[in-house]
């Protein structure tokens, strides 16, 4: 029996239009590259952290570790979505959904919070702030799980992102100018949010846009890794 053709009429254009296997493979390869660079950044900074036990470096490393794992989970979710579109293969949502949405929600939220916290930690009491961060991540994850929607996670993480932009000048009084590093961080966060949007929709926004954004995030990771390599031999 042939796999059922997905009903695209409710969603608009024929989603099979966007299911070119070449595009799918390119997106998956680019996602894997993003994973690779996240882990490279994490391991490249291992020695300098172990030598100093400097908290800012710890949070910086955790951010990229958690982003790397989140991209892996996103990659696996994408495989499942594309399997549904291309092969009509449907994985049981009751098992598959929670299996990924729970760790994805928690880890990606903590990645965002760690990245923000890595540069403002001196202004806050560590233990209490971290406890609050974990609570926020758990609450966001539970809300996402209850609604079974990546889009809810996207909206909630977008609020965190906007808050970070608004509150940063107040948290770091010594530097009002937006630096190159800060722009890189916002790019990394922004592209992650778009990645969530694609997951939430269950189909690409538009292949060229998705690929362009993935390339932008990989370039940001490459640049971050290059900047780290300048200092950390």
């Amino acid at each position: 029996m042939a796999p059922p053709i997905p009903d695209a009429t409710f969603h608009g254009p024929n989603i099979l239009m966007f299911s070119d296997p070449t595009i799918v493979i390119i997106e998956l390869v680019l996602t894997l590259l993003a994973v690779a660079f996240c882990f490279l950044i994490y391991f490249k900074t291992k020695e300098v952290y172990e030598l100093t036990k400097y908290e800012g470096i710890k949070y910086f490393r955790y951010a990229f570790l958690f982003f790397g794992i989140s991209y892996i989970l996103s990659f696996i979710s994408s495989i499942a979505i594309f399997s549904r579109i291309i092969f009509g293969l449907v994985l049981p949502r009751d098992i598959f959904g929670p299996l990924f949405i729970l760790p994805l929600g928690y880890l990606s939220t903590m990645a965002i919070l760690y990245l923000i916290y890595s540069s403002i930690w001196k202004n806050f009491e560590s233990r209490r702030t971290l406890i609050i961060s974990h609570i926020v991540a758990i609450v966001l994850t539970i809300v996402t799980f209850m609604t079974r929607s990546h889009l809810i996670l996207l909206y909630l993480q977008s609020i965190l992102f906007i808050l970070a932009i608004i509150l940063r000048p107040y948290a770091r009084k010594d530097k009002k100018k937006i630096s190159q590093t800060r722009i890189l961080y916002f790019l990394v966060l922004g592209v992650w949010l778009v990645n969530l949007l694609v997951l939430g929709r269950g189909r690409p926004i538009y292949p060229l846009i998705d690929i362009s954004l993935l390339i932008a995030s990989i370039l940001a990771y490459i640049f971050i890794y290059y900047k780290i390599s300048k200092w950390v031999k």
């Binding site: 900074t45 300098v48 030598l51 100093t52 036990k53 400097y54 800012g56 470096i57 949070y59 910086f60 890595s118 540069s119 770091r172 530097k175 630096s179 590093t181 800060r182 900047k227 780290i228 300048k230 200092w231 950390v232 031999k233």
Partner: protein, 92 residues
């Protein structure tokens, strides 16, 4: 006179540098004096240096205690500029 407050890494570096500049062997009291720290702060930092194995204590034949750097301590001094540069570059 520059009275900018030193951060934790800077203080650790300064203490280790003092030891290395005195032929890698200094008694605790002169080290406290040169470190420009209060007694309680010095004790905290010293405990941290010991826990991180940056320094170790040796005793001469008369039982006098000297503080000396370990390989890890030398490594920290060597990499300090790099570490500071990395922290400043990424605003950590």
């Amino acid at each position: 006179m520059n009275t900018k407050k030193r951060d934790r890494l800077e203080v650790i570096h300064d203490i280790l540098k003092i030891i290395s500049e005195r032929h890698n062997s200094i008694k605790p009291t002169p080290l406290l004096r040169y470190s420009n720290l209060s007694s309680s702060s010095f004790n905290e930092y010293y405990a941290e240096l010991q826990s991180k194995e940056f320094v170790k204590e040796i005793f001469d034949k008369d039982g006098r205690k000297y503080i000396t750097l370990t390989d890890k301590g030398f490594k920290f001094i060597e990499k300090y500029k790099m570490i500071k540069g990395f922290i400043e570059e990424f605003e950590l």
